[in-house]
């Protein structure tokens, strides 16, 4: 990428802004143009992200397609983007989910009702820009800016086009994330000033070389505090139990596409941040805190699943299932094995696909019945056979049925967590119990909506799926099966990067024993 001026990553990052600018000049009344401009932008971005994938060298663990522009060189702050095994697939996931989200909004009732269609799509593109930014940026300050910017469009998407308690949910969403972000901001400013640069790869290189070090001589020393500053921000985003209570509100109140994006991408910013920043920047603290965090993750797996079972609101049910699923992802990360982390990365994709799919399905049912109450349904399989069949695949994928994508992620995470030297086998056993609970709440979801007698008059003549509804569900089903049967193409890109990352964090398997001494070489 030396000869050309622009890296493909930069192009992918700024395309949504280009679409955003075009959209600004389209008159509000031209609904069709607005929709297709937004969709076109997201599809082109998706296509280019695939080109990016095609040009990605999976064998190279380092950052690729790097682009750096200086901004405030005296502070070591600058535009610094690049992709490696950790974020490449996340960018593709983002562009994919955004295309799905935009397409699924085409006939959303709530947009027609509340109007401001253009604003809606403007926010969508802004959100896409910010989310890609979060994933590709390698500079702490710019990362933080993107991280905060994602809040704004999401805040308004929920606040304007959300459900009845949308304001409460939007503010709560904002508050929670803000609370965490401020801690992260403080931590990253400290890290940056100490290191003399905000460029993450350089900070990590410094830590590796020993030129930068944050002492760790107890659970609450400098490194631990910095670690926690980042961790709490990420933990709220993921969300890790018990910081999840914004999630059901946000999900229930958000419009369908908002939920899809929230579950599909926004939550992953937290888990991605853990892999990208926490592990390499604070390796000793990560190892020290791993059992505690893994414990929270495992509690989240069981708790989320159990609470999910008791829900009568479809969206809430799926929201709590997210808490459970994201627990798996966090467990995989803090297993600190390359198997676990790769499992987490693929599980982020899988969760995006299956939970995104679930929210789409719930949205489609909501569009038809204007209720999210499970009790309002029953026997829908007979009324809408295609939706029934697709939902079954998505539900099974979410349950972790082998042969579908969810299983690949969960199994790999369990495999990684069991072999972890920082965690014990007990974590794996309890987490694996989550697969039983997953079946309980997911089947409860499926059977109450789709099975049983089709006894309610209102449900007997539900309109068939629209073309755009089929168009968003089919790729989800195809990907669920594809990743389930052939996960290698989706997992290989992260292999080299994860391997080198783990080598940095856990140089050898006896780390646990050495922990107390680890931080003393200041």
């Amino acid at each position: 990428m030396e000869n050309t001026g622009l890296s493909l990553v930069t192009v992918v990052l700024f395309l949504p802004l280009v679409g955003f600018s075009i959209l600004l000049f389209i008159p509000d009344a031209q609904s069709r143009n607005i929709k297709y401009t937004a969709l076109g932008t997201s599809l082109v971005t998706f296509a280019l992200s695939l080109v990016m994938w095609a040009n990605f060298d999976a064998a190279n663990p380092a950052l690729q397609m790097v682009q750096r522009w200086e901004w405030l060189p005296q502070y070591g702050i600058g535009y610094y983007v690049g992709i490696d095994g950790l974020n490449m697939i996340m960018v593709v996931l983002t562009t994919f989910i955004m295309s799905i989200g935009i397409l699924s909004s085409f006939n959303a009732h709530v947009i027609q009702e509340r109007g401001r269609e253009k604003l809606y799509y403007l926010f969508m593109l802004l959100l896409q820009w910010a989310m890609i930014g979060v994933f590709v940026v390698q500079d702490l300050i710019i990362f933080y800016i993107f991280w905060e910017v994602t809040l704004v469009p999401m805040y308004f998407l929920v606040g304007i086009w959300g459900g009845e308690k949308r304001v409460y949910a939007a503010v709560k969403f904002f508050l929670y994330t803000m609370a965490g972000s401020i801690l992260m901001l403080l931590a990253l400013l400290y890290v940056g000033t100490q290191a003399g640069t905000f460029a993450v790869p350089e900070i990590i290189a410094g830590i590796q070389a020993g030129t930068i070090s944050f002492p760790l001589d107890g659970l609450f020393s400098t490194q631990s505090i910095l670690f926690l500053g980042f961790f709490i921000a990420f933990a709220i985003k993921v969300p890790i139990w018990p910081l999840h209570s914004w999630l059901p509100d946000a999900h229930v109140q958000a419009p369908t596409a908002g939920s899809v994006i929230l579950a599909g991408v926004l939550l992953k910013m937290g888990s991605y941040g853990m892999i990208r920043f926490l592990l390499p920047m604070f390796p000793e603290a990560s190892v020290a805190w791993a059992p505690i965090i893994a414990l929270l993750a495992v509690i989240g797996i069981i708790y989320g699943a159990w609470v999910s079972f008791a829900q009568t609101d479809m969206k809430k049910l799926v929201a709590y299932s997210s808490v459970s699923h994201m627990g798996f992802i966090v467990l995989g990360i803090f297993a600190m094995t390359s198997i676990g982390i790769q499992g987490s990365i693929i599980q982020m994709v899988n969760h995006g696909i299956s939970t995104g799919g679930l929210f789409l399905i719930v949205g489609m049912l909501y569009e038809r019945r204007h209720t999210k109450d499970l009790a309002a349904f029953g026997g829908i399989w007979k009324a809408m056979p295609l939706l029934g069949a697709i939902s079954l695949v998505v539900v099974l994928s979410s349950m972790g049925m082998p042969g579908l994508n969810g299983f690949i992620g969960e199994f790999t995470i369990l495999l990684g967590s069991m072999g972890s030297t920082v965690l014990g086998i007990g974590f794996t056993v309890v987490a694996a119990l989550g697969i039983i609970l997953a079946a309980i709440y997911m089947l409860n979801f499926f059977q109450r909506i789709f099975m049983g007698e089709l006894d309610k008059e209102e449900n007997k003549n539900l309109p068939k799926l629209e073309w755009n509804e089929i168009a968003v569900l089919v790729p989800i089903v195809v990907l669920a099966i594809w990743i389930g049967l052939q996960p290698a193409p989706f997992m290989n890109p992260s292999d080299a990067t994860v391997e080198s990352l783990v080598a940095q964090v856990v140089p050898d398997t006896t780390t646990v024993a050495q922990l107390p001494e680890a931080g003393q070489g200041e």
Partner: protein
């Protein structure tokens, strides 16, 4: 010729394609084509199974490992050294299973064409059936535990779909079916937890989940024997290996036929295809331990007494072995319906009867037995697990047999009978009688499929009879059957209740004769199939107990003997109630014999129920071994089940067990011929004060379901609601949020904003950009001022915080 075994990929693909066609185009194809497509797909799979069988016969039973085209790799993580391939295995065990699955599967397809005629979802039924075949074949042909697990879950899914097939029936029946489907899925999921744990531990112990690597010899003993036989034949060449000491010495590696450099060949060969030119290995000593599959490594580890770390946990290998097999057993109790997870199977009868026959009697439920026999090496060396398995199996056989005696529903009796018979197989595995377990699996597949299909024929006839009886009075639409089978009359008439039957012997002679065959086979009456297989299990447990002094052997022998008596009793009770006496209802009076599509599969299965046992006649029985050969089946099986052994025939046990069965049948005959009591819809045993409490206990299914519902289901739900409402919502969501986060943030925001007057805030808003102002104006138009305040204060708060922190930083630099 070399690619011949590659057909095993097609055996999965063809039913999968059949399912695909019927799912997508079935609705348009019409019943005739749907049935044809599905049946042809199944029949083709059967043809392939036969071809593979013939291939194995021709190749000296040597196992072949196939990498299917396209789907070669599966989960691969180079950094973590995880390689889990899609890989199939053709050997005598998988071949046996393939023949059973596709053979009985095809008959059931044919049968279903008639049975499901007129059903609104006819095409979907056949798609599920094809899909089931595909997954079941994945299960049995997989060469590693994880791929097996794909099939394992896949068949579970098909089972779920077929149990809940009539999910939309009226009067709450649909919901009952749905719940039955759910129950099956959930209890199986508990088992799956065990399988997953087992596979995880396996991976961290062996670094692989492959059964065997392609280069491995499964049964070293047989290979060495064969080599010695060959050597003896060409004794003039006499190149290698002294005769006597071949068994366990690592030195005598190779039989070099062409006089190649042995050492070099041994070095290069590991990981390679077995047929390295010119070199024939008689054991696996030339293969490095980590190049072996799970079972090969297990034996080495035991020899070495290895200690294995998984994460921070360090235990001797033998302990890990016990743990991993116990977890696997949990999976088995789910899939093969054993105590404690067996309660789903009787409910699973909500599905269409032919599906019950295929999935919940003949094939899927035996998957647990299959996987234990497949892992015979692991179980062989895990005595604790084996004991547990033996106890579970024996107890299940007894309990389910007992419950079956108190049921009125014709299918439910068969369901409990299936549970009981699976218990026989599991117990056989527990005492190390692996060949006997598979033998019983095979014979049971035939006669239990026969019985289920026979009961389907009866139920079908009862429905017809019922319609016939009522159509005169009500002018009932005679076309209306199949789909909504007993929708209309659910309340007043149950076509599966044996009290409504009686005298069908004369109405349905073919069904009766074949049903009788199935009954005699199940009861273990000479010379029917069940006699041979059940006797083998009993004889083996006798040997295990009384000759080898294995505690499990004694217990299993005694309990299974009792269970066998129960079996004979409840089956003859059924025969009497259904076929003998006089018709007790109009429906039974008008029950017609079923169509040919139904009776022909019955006849074929009846033939096998009579004859299939002879494939494994023990030696020295009435000279039968001269006709059929002695334990041919076991000999063949030994090539893939290395710990299998042929059992010795014990005339005393055979006579004793048969006598017991006959006595039980006589007893049942005497009791249930008293038709007056049955016409009063009571059971004679219910009337006798001595037997009444036992009968009620059996009739109430020993309160297993009630117990589970009280001890597990209800507390689970209650805790779920507690967590959801109290912990999550009232505490975390409301209290914690309102008091801690919300107020805390407000206080912080107040503290931050007080020093700065409003002018500055406004300035900041303008300064940072009109974007925020514009955005909030958008919001302002819709929302109340309340929101605006919060939104603004939040945004401004953010900006302020950033500025406050950044400014000194910038100045300092």
């Amino acid at each position: 010729m070399a690619y011949y075994p590659q057909l095993v990929s097609l055996i999965i693909l063809i039913p999968a394609i059949g399912a695909f066609i019927n799912i997508f185009w079935g609705a348009r194809l019409g019943e005739k084509w749907v049935g044809t497509v599905a049946t042809v797909a199944s029949a083709l799979a059967f043809v392939i199974a036969v071809l593979l069988f013939v291939y194995l016969e021709g190749s000296g039973y040597e196992a072949v490992v196939i990498n299917p085209p396209i789907f070669d790799g599966w989960i691969q993580i180079p950094a973590g050294e995880v390689v889990i391939p899609w890989q199939q295995r053709v050997d005598t065990l998988s071949s046996t299973m393939m023949l059973i699955i596709t053979g009985i599967g095809t008959l059931i397809h044919v049968y279903s064409i008639s049975y499901m005629h007129g059903d609104a979802r006819f095409h979907r039924y056949f798609a599920y059936l094809n899909m089931f075949l595909a997954f079941m074949l994945v299960l049995v042909t997989a060469n590693n535990f994880l791929m097996m697990f794909v099939g394992w879950e896949g068949v579970g899914l098909c089972s779920f779909l077929l149990i809940g097939f009539w999910f939309d029936k009226a009067h709450g029946v649909g919901w009952r079916n749905t719940m039955a489907a759910n129950k099956a899925m959930l209890l199986n999921r508990i088992g799956d937890f065990g399988v997953v744990m087992s596979v995880l531990i396996m991976f961290w112990t062996f670094g692989t989940t492959d059964y065997f690597r392609p280069a491995e010899i499964v049964n070293v003993h047989l290979a060495e024997e064969a080599a010695h036989a060959a050597e003896a034949a060409h004794s003039e060449e006499g190149a290698v290996a002294a005769e006597g000491e071949a068994a366990n010495k690592p030195g005598d590696v190779v039989l070099a036929q062409e006089g190649e450099g042995e050492g070099a060949a041994a070095e290069e060969a590991h990981g390679e295809e077995h047929s390295t030119p010119g070199v024939v290995y008689v054991n696996n000593d030339h293969i490095e331990t980590d190049q072996l599959g799970v079972f090969g490594q297990a034996e080495r580890f035991l020899d070495e007494g290895r200690v294995i770390d998984i994460g921070p946990v360090q235990l001797p290998f033998s302990t890990w072995l016990t743990i991993m097999t116990l977890f696997l057993v949990l999976g088995v109790t789910g899939k093969s319906a054993q105590i404690p997870l067996f309660t789903w199977l009787p409910d699973a009868m909500a599905g269409p009867t032919p599906a019950s026959a295929l999935i919940h009697a003949a094939t899927m439920v035996t998957a647990g037995v299959y996987i234990m026999v497949r892992s015979n090496v692991l179980f062989y060396y895990a005595p604790v697990t084996s004991f547990v398995v033996a106890m579970i199996g024996a107890l299940t056989a007894l309990v389910a047999g007992f419950i079956a005696m108190g049921q009125w529903d014709i299918k439910r009796v068969l369901a409990y009978s299936t549970v009981s018979q699976l218990g026989f197989m599991v117990a056989a595995v527990g005492i190390g009688a692996y060949a006997a377990a598979i033998f019983h699996l095979v014979t049971h597949a035939f006669f239990k499929a026969l019985l289920f299909l026979g009961s389907g024929s009866v139920i079908h006839a009862m429905e017809h009879g019922h319609h016939h009886a009522h159509s005169h009075g009500h002018g009932h639409d005679d076309e209306h059957h199949g789909d909504d089978h007993h929708d209309a009359h659910e309340e007043e008439f149950d076509p599966q209740d044996m009290r409504n039957m009686g005298g069908l012997r004369r109405k349905m002679p073919l069904t009766f004769i074949t049903y009788l065959f199935g009954t005699l086979a199940l009861a273990g009456i000479f010379p029917f199939a069940g006699f041979w297989s059940k006797d083998e299990i009993l004889a083996d447990s006798w040997v295990a107990g009384f000759d080898n002094n294995n505690l499990a052997g004694y217990i299993v022998f005694i309990i299974l003997l009792m269970a066998a008596a129960f079996t004979a009793f409840y089956m003859w009770r059924q025969i009497v109630l259904v076929f003998f006496g006089k018709p007790r209802t109009e429906a039974a009076e008008h029950a017609p014999e079923s169509s040919r599509l139904i009776t022909i599969p019955l006849v074929i299965l009846g033939f096998f129920s009579l004859g299939i046992g002879f494939m494994n006649t023990p030696s020295y029985v009435l000279g039968l071994d001269n006709i059929f050969g002695a334990h041919l089946f076991t000999d063949r099986l030994e090539y893939s089940v290395s710990k299998a052994h042929a059992s010795e025939f014990n005339l005393l046990i055979a006579l004793g067990a048969t006598a017991l069965a006959v006595a039980a049948m006589f007893l049942a005959n005497n009791i249930y011929r008293r038709s007056a009591i049955i016409e009063a819809r009571r059971d004679p045993l219910e009337m006798l004060p001595t037997t009444a409490p036992f009968w009620s206990l059996a009739n109430a299914r020993m309160y297993w379901d009630a117990f589970y519902s009280r001890v597990f289901a209800r507390p689970f739900t209650r805790i779920a609601y507690f967590l959801s409402d109290v912990v999550d919502w009232r505490f975390l969501h409301d209290y914690f949020h309102d008091v801690v986060i919300w107020k805390g943030f407000n206080a912080a925001a107040q503290g931050l904003s007080k020093p700065v007057d409003l002018g500055v805030i406004d300035g900041a808003v303008n300064g940072v950009g009109r974007v925020f102002g514009w955005l909030s104006s958008q919001l302002r138009q819709i929302q109340t001022g309340y929101v605006r305040t919060y939104a603004l204060s939040l945004l401004v708060g953010v900006v302020l915080v950033i500025l406050v922190i950044l400014l000194p930083l910038l100045q300092r630099g």
